[in-house]
């Protein structure tokens, strides 16, 4: 078969796959700008005229703003605390030799493959006991614990690669171990920190299982819960749901638009062997 023909077939298949991969979103995006009446007439029509006011309606008339802010609060707090606590642990495990170092590292690292089921029931019980059930602070704590292993894993390997001469020089300059962490380790590890922040933000923004178990109050729902509720509420209002979906994925899309390379690298780095 002549090369041109093979090329053409390959391009056709690739374009077909792209339609398959991106199609659903394009469809949802189109529907988000059309009213449900327009949609029921023709589910695949183009949004002419585009009904931008639907976004405003979704945000203000339903509890969307509440869900969004809850998620933002929980995720931002969790990622902030998670990054600092994880960085401290990773710095310590990678730089100091002491008995039990590798044991602790292995303990934390192995938690990455734990299925959530092994902790969820007991976490439910614990949070209830301490009055943190149905409480955004409680959920935040759970989220911090959830992503800690992965964060420590990623940061530890990065910290370990910093040449130890830098730390010796800083010690001789009179810096305490704590100051060395803040002034030497963290600034140098900025790329890896950025990666973990992006990764954790996306994973926690989309987190559903723990949220659905630990939060029941309407006013405290995070976004994924809110969308599910939204879907239940609106039932057949496909147009509204589509708009809601678009709002939910906007932060992700923004991060992806600006940091796609970093994001892709961060999420796939560990998998290449």
């Amino acid at each position: 078969m002549p090369a041109i023909l093979t090329r053409a077939i390959v391009m056709l298949l690739l374009t077909g796959y792209t339609a398959f991969a991106a199609g659903p979103f394009v469809w949802a995006a189109m529907m988000s700008l059309r009213t449900t009446t327009e949609i029921s007439r023709n589910h695949f029509g183009l949004p002419f005229p585009p009904h931008w006011e639907k976004f405003g309606q979704a945000w203000f008339n339903s509890n969307y703003s509440v869900y969004f802010t809850n998620s933002a609060y929980v995720v931002a707090t969790a990622v902030l605390v998670l990054t600092i606590v994880g960085a401290m642990a990773a710095h310590c495990l990678s730089r100091y030799r002491f008995r039990g170092n590798r044991f602790i590292y292995f303990l934390i690292f192995s938690a990455i493959i734990f299925p959530p089921q092994i902790t969820i029931i007991a976490l439910f019980q614990t949070l209830v006991t301490y009055g943190l059930y149905n409480n955004l602070a409680g959920l935040t704590l759970v989220y911090i614990a959830l992503q800690l292993p992965l964060t420590v894993y990623i940061l530890e390997s990065f910290f370990a690669r910093i040449p130890s001469d830098l730390f010796d020089a800083a010690r001789m300059d009179g810096y305490s171990e704590w100051a060395i962490f803040w002034k030497v380790s963290l600034p140098i590890a900025l790329p890896a920190l950025a990666t973990t922040v992006i990764l954790n933000t996306i994973l926690l923004w989309n987190e559903f299982l723990y949220a659905v178990v630990l939060i029941t109050d309407e006013a405290k729902r995070t976004l994924p819960l809110g969308i599910q509720r939204f879907m239940g509420d609106q039932l057949e209002d496909v147009g509204m749901i589509a708009t809601g979906l678009m709002i939910a994925i906007i932060p992700i899309v923004l991060i992806y638009a600006f940091f796609s390379e970093k994001l892709i690298q961060g999420m796939t780095a560990g998998a290449v062997k």
Partner: protein, 361 residues
């Protein structure tokens, strides 16, 4: 500036039972440049790090200007160290790298700025002050590392193989600059290296270490001319000193090399008398062997001739033995492989070594 005294300094790691450094003692006088020289693993870096305070001292005493330093943390010893890998903070500009150590010491900002600028101009770093390390060449990074030490105005400067990461041409230049810096600052400096050329050219005195112990201490040329044992003899000098198996005659006035004999006189004869056995190793440097006849001659079979332009290295085997030796001849050498040549030994520059103890007799 200050004196630095190491008194029987030793280091044993708790994990391993072997000792890394044993009983190292020497004093670096005020303003002196002392080189710690030896192959990798000999303990020189460990000794340096003990002086710096980066390794704990197992036994012995460390004194700077008479004050005991053993238990003082590194930052309180008033020393500065230049690392092999420069250890520059990659996220800071050159200016900040130089100022970093000073900021910790509650020094007024104006004082910090003054010191940084002085060091920068001494080292030619003025145009680079706002750059970050990754935008600097190897030589420039080296200078920043030096600058960081200079701004501290310490009592003692420590260097841990600072030139190893530079290419050969740069190394030659930096050697001269470091020596000039030493003269300008009249600073007390302790310098670790495995490169004997650096040691010979830069040191006021050198301390050769082997296997955790001090092998010999002295001025470079003294050590070169009178090595205390076989290790020092072969470590200094390139190509290395020839060590030929030889036998002393019954009266200890004749040295038999292969099937030939050399009549001994002077210090060499005295050494021969002191020898505990008649089996010795005869040491002579390649440059002290000349082609042609003279007072002490040997006949040797030419094995190989390597003309290098400025000189020629000739590999020979004295008649009656299969041991090989090297001879350095200025310019060219007329002999060819498999010919017998006549060579003259400068007995005044020769040594006898005891094969069992490896010490010079």
């Amino acid at each position: 500036m200050a004196t630095l005294t190491l008194d029987r300094l030793s280091k044993r790691y708790t994990s391993a039972q072997e000792v890394a450094v044993t009983d190292v003692s020497f004093t670096v006088a005020d303003g002196e440049f002392m080189v710690l020289l030896g192959p990798s693993g000999c303990g020189k870096s460990t000794t340096l790090r003990m002086v710096a305070g980066l390794e704990s001292i197992t036994s012995g005493t460390l004194l700077i200007d008479g004050a005991r330093m053993n238990d003082r943390p590194a930052k309180d010893r008033d020393i500065a160290m230049v690392f092999q890998s420069y250890a520059l903070y990659p996220h800071m500009t050159v200016y900040d790298n130089l100022a970093f150590g000073l900021r910790r010491r509650s020094m007024p900002g104006s004082e910090i700025a003054r010191r940084v600028r002085d060091a920068a101009s001494t080292l030619g770093l003025d145009p680079l002050l706002q750059r970050k390390p990754h935008a600097l060449s190897g030589g420039q990074r080296q200078r920043v590392a030096l600058g960081r030490a200079i701004v501290r105005d310490p009592k003692v400067f420590l260097f841990d193989e600072p030139l190893s990461n530079l290419d050969a041409a740069l190394r030659v230049g930096m050697r001269g600059e470091l020596s000039a810096l030493h003269r300008r600052l009249s600073a007390t400096m302790l310098y670790v290296t495995h490169d004997q050329v650096e040691a010979m050219t830069m040191g006021d005195r050198i301390c050769i270490m082997q296997g955790g112990n001090v092998a010999q201490i002295g001025a470079p040329l003294d050590v070169y001319a009178a090595p205390s044992n076989m290790f020092v003899a072969t470590f200094l000098g390139s190509p290395a000193m020839n060590l030929l198996p030889a036998k002393l005659g019954p009266n200890r006035d004749v040295l038999h090399i292969g099937s030939q004999a050399l009549r001994l006189s002077g210090p060499l004869a005295d050494a021969a008398v002191r020898a505990s056995s008649s089996d010795v190793l005869f040491g002579i440097r390649p440059e002290d062997v000349r082609s042609g006849s003279g007072n002490a001659t040997l006949r040797a079979c030419v094995l190989d001739v390597e003309p290098l332009g400025a000189e020629t290295i000739v590999r020979l085997a004295p008649e009656g033995t299969s041991a090989e030796m090297l001879m350095r001849v200025p310019r060219t050498f007329s002999g060819r492989p498999d010919e017998i040549a006549t060579i003259t030994i400068d007995l005044a520059a020769s040594h006898l070594f005891d094969p069992a103890s490896t010490r010079r007799i």
